[in-house]
Assembly symmetry: C2
Homo-oligomer: 186 residues x 2
DNA sequence: TCAATACCGAACTATGTGTTCATTATTTTA
DNA sequence: TAAAATAATGAACACATAGTTCGGTATTGA
């Protein structure tokens, strides 16, 4: 990818994230984005068809390495996040969030960002579906699998939202305990 | 209220509900609403400041009697819905939904209607908060009350959404069983 | 060096929002 | 039932935002 393209793309993402933490997605205009990113109007539309696609691509970029790190879990990763192979994927995710190494938290917690949350849940469900056999959800036996996955995913997202919106006073282990209590695991 | 006002208001609500089951809230224009409702533009704005307020007032109207019937539960109500005083409030709500006596189901299940769901959850939380002592949530002891209430409310909404979007094949008792399994009650 | 291409910027069309106001129709009340 | 009050009409209006177009300029990669 051309360096100019990379720079422009990055500038748009940065401006957009800034604006998203200030106001609702629907209230953000393209004019504001390009002004903050300091690029031309035509340039914006050369990169993103609409504001919706911008959010979609930003989401994918943000989710990419956080989900990948859980999927392709390896020794290096476990060392960085100080966890062992028996920790649940959810604790891994909470750890990632607490480290706040990217802008994902800012977006997960801001008001009126349901579209972003929907994208997050979609990816999270795929992850849960893959890991489902590893988790012992005997207490949900008899319920349709997609129903259970949706429940776990929703509960996780709601837990993160509550956590962030309450100032993240709890540690990653604590909030994982809370979450586990809801799902009755371990 | 003037009969003309009532008629106009009703026409707007009906047109709006129709459009909401066709497309996203954000994609609906005032022009479409007034065309379907067959009223003038100025009339619309005489009734509702914005499209957002329209949704808010519609929501309140729809929620009003469903939540009231649970709150001011009496013999007549129990007779109509064939339930006894020990049934949980959630079973009551599932019963209401299965009867589908108003348009609430249409709106709860349609895509991209997060604003409506947020209003619903807000009212539902108040109801749950009131009923919380009656329910025995010992398994959630140690967790902040608002966190627990949010969890119950979210789980209920997700259950209803899944139920409706899967064709409501389950009976009200069955879906209430599913829901109870998630919350580990009874 | 040079061809490709990304950016610029300004103008333009199109669409939707919300307001205004004089006129007409309906309802309320005295 | 007549008069006053109120609601609806419809068309025009100003305004904001979206998304496009295009000739000129700057940057890049080979």
């Amino acid at each position: 990818m051309d360096r100019r393209q990379r720079k422009t793309r990055e500038a748009i993402f940065d401006a957009f994230i800034d604006l998203l933490s200030e106001k609702d997605f629907n209230q953000i205009t393209v004019a504001e984005i390009i002004e903050k990113a300091d690029i031309g109007r035509a340039t914006f539309y050369a990169h993103f068809e609409t504001k919706d696609y911008l959010l979609k691509e930003l989401s994918e970029e943000l989710f990419c390495h956080i989900f990948d790190s859980v999927n392709n879990e390896n020794t290096e990763h476990r060392h960085i996040f100080n966890c062992n192979e028996h920790d649940s994927i959810f604790l891994h995710l909470f750890r990632h969030f607490e480290k706040n190494d990217n802008n994902i938290l800012k977006l997960l917690s801001c008001r009126n960002n349901e579209l972003f949350l929907r994208y997050f849940k979609t990816d999270l469900k795929l992850l849960i579906k893959k890991q489902l056999p590893a988790l012992n959800y005997i207490q949900f036996e008899g319920l349709p699998e997609d129903f259970v996955i949706n429940h776990i995913s929703s509960t996780f997202v709601e837990t993160v939202k509550w956590w962030v919106n309450n100032g993240m006073k709890e540690s990653d282990e604590e909030i994982n305990e809370y979450f586990s209590k809801f799902l009755h695991i371990k």
